[in-house]
Each structure stands twice: as C-alpha cells, then as structure tokens.
C-alpha cells in the first residue's frame, strides 16, 4: 500500500526538550567504536577549544529514534510493518558541534514522497535547534519503502 502523500509538507515538533548528557555521549562514542578524547574527557575537550565534551558528527542522526520516529508509526502515514524501509541517503549540515549539556529541540518535516520504480522514496528533514532557536544541525534522510508503490497501469 502506498504511503499517504498528504503528509508532504507536514511538520512535527517534539513536545519535550532533549538534554544531551556526558554519559549518553560516552555510550554513543563507545557504540561506534571511537576513543577520541574530545568525546570522553572534559580536559581534553577544553584543550581542543571546546567548553566541554562534544558529540561525534553522526550523533545527530540517531536523535530521530529517541524522538519517536515520526511519522513512521502514524497509522494515517500508511507505513506497514512489511515491506521494510531502508535508509538510502543521509545529508547532515553542522552549524556547530553538539556539546554535553545542550538542550535541543527537534522538528521533522516530510519533504517529499515519490515513486522510484516499485518502491517509494520519502524524504524527511530534521531540524535540531538550541533553546534560543539557533540552528545546531540539519539532517535530511531519504528512506526507501520497498515495494510499496502503487501498481502502474
């Protein structure tokens, strides 16, 4: 069943702030197999010119899962358990590194849904901002919904 194209242009905003903890950054850093001290050691981070430890540049790509994966589980969006969705393409723009202690807001907009052969592609733009509204980073994900395109005449 095809995805609901009425979602194109809709934006969802997280109801609560995401507070970045030093321990979460440590867990994420270990999970990606990293050991760089700017992620783990406050003194080392300060020597590199940061006020405290920072997040790896791919940390922001995981925030969407914590925030509930909108719109994947909206019944009206039409995403079925089967077929699966896979990530095809991901673009990240960093306005500044994410630091421990940051309080971040998260908003997702469905930018596009279109057929690519038997599959559908949907594009989501995630805006991560600080409490004063300043941009922190932007993540644009293109997901492939396998085999869900409407049959062609």
């Amino acid at each position: 069943m095809p995805l609901n194209r009425e979602f194109i242009g809709r934006t969802w905003r997280a109801a609560e702030v995401y507070e970045v903890s030093r321990e979460k950054l440590r867990d994420f850093t270990v999970a990606i197999g990293e050991m760089h001290p700017v992620y783990l050691d406050e003194e080392a981070a300060r020597k590199h010119g940061y006020r405290t430890v920072i997040a790896p540049p791919s940390f922001c790509t995981a925030l969407w899962f914590r925030m509930g994966n909108w719109p994947m589980f909206e019944p009206e969006f039409g995403k079925q358990k089967d077929p699966v969705c896979v990530l095809g393409d991901q673009r990240v723009t960093h306005h500044r590194p994410i630091h421990a202690g940051d309080r971040l807001w998260f908003a997702t907009t469905v930018r596009d849904i279109r057929d690519i052969g038997r599959h559908e592609l949907f594009e989501m733009e995630h805006q991560v901002t600080s409490e004063d509204g300043a941009p922190v980073c932007t993540v644009v994900d293109q997901m492939i919904s396998r085999g869900s395109a409407a049959p062609k005449e």
């Binding site: 197999g33 700017v38 790896p56 990530l87 673009r91």
Partner: protein
C-alpha cells in the same frame, strides 16, 4: 576546533590513511542500544531472514560514523567535519560466525572549497571490493 592541517598544503587527490574495520554482532547490538533503534533486522537473525537477508544488517550510519573517523585521524579534531552526505549502496551483513563483517575505508581529497574547506570522499569497500557506503565530508582546515 584545533585542526592541525594547513589548507594550503593539501592537494586535490591526496589520500587519507585507510582504516580496516571488523564488525561483530555485539557491536551492531551496542549501536541499537545507543541509538534506541531496535528494528528487528538489525539484531534478530530470524527477522533478517524474513526480509531476505542472510544475516543481521548493520545500521548505515554506523558505517558512516566509522568513515568519519578517518577525518579526525587526519585533522586531529572531529569538530572539523562541517557537513557529511552518506549514500548507502549495499547492506553490511554481519554473520554470527565469530568473524562478523569486515570492510576497508579509504578517503581522497577531491575538491578545495572557499573558506579553507575541502571535500573528502570516503568509501567503505567489502573484501570482495564492493562499494558499501560512500560519505562526502566537508572538512574545515586552518
């Protein structure tokens, strides 16, 4: 940000030191935990088989993260990555055989931009020389 690399000394075509990676099932399951993405295909071989995969599938952004490590191995500072564009060409499958998945990541400076920034194209390739993931990173030099 304390990049150690002088923009003026970096030619287009320069190769970064390649890195080899091994990914065991436990590494992927740790990533599921850290990201809170517990889609079954990433940790449950039965679910993976049900969607036509022989083994559990690594998260694309985990390979993206490993590719970006080549940047700070070069510049000394992960904060030098100002943008990244990852394309996921083939799934990274992780057999539960004690060996897991292996891939090699290499990087090349492909472009010099304004504001002392360069483009590095990073490519993760399987032992069979298949392109798995490519990442175009924009890197701030000094």
């Amino acid at each position: 940000m304390t990049a150690q690399v002088d923009y003026d000394t970096v030619p287009v075509g320069m190769q970064l030191a390649p890195r080899e990676f091994q990914l065991l099932a436990v590494n992927e399951i740790m990533y599921c935990g850290a990201t809170l993405d517990f889609a079954g295909v990433h940790w449950n071989p039965r679910v993976a088989r049900s969607v036509g995969m022989d083994h559990i599938v690594a998260h694309g952004p985990l390979t993206e993260a490993k590719a970006l490590s080549l940047i700070h191995e070069w510049t000394g500072d992960p904060g030098t990555v100002v943008a990244q564009h990852a394309r996921f060409h083939r799934p990274v499958l992780i057999p539960d055989d004690g060996e897991g998945a292996r891939y090699r990541i290499h990087g090349t400076v492909t472009e010099k931009l304004a504001d002392r920034r360069v483009v590095v194209e990073l490519t993760a390739v399987s032992p069979q020389e298949e392109e798995l993931v490519t990442v175009r990173a924009v890197v701030q030099l000094v």
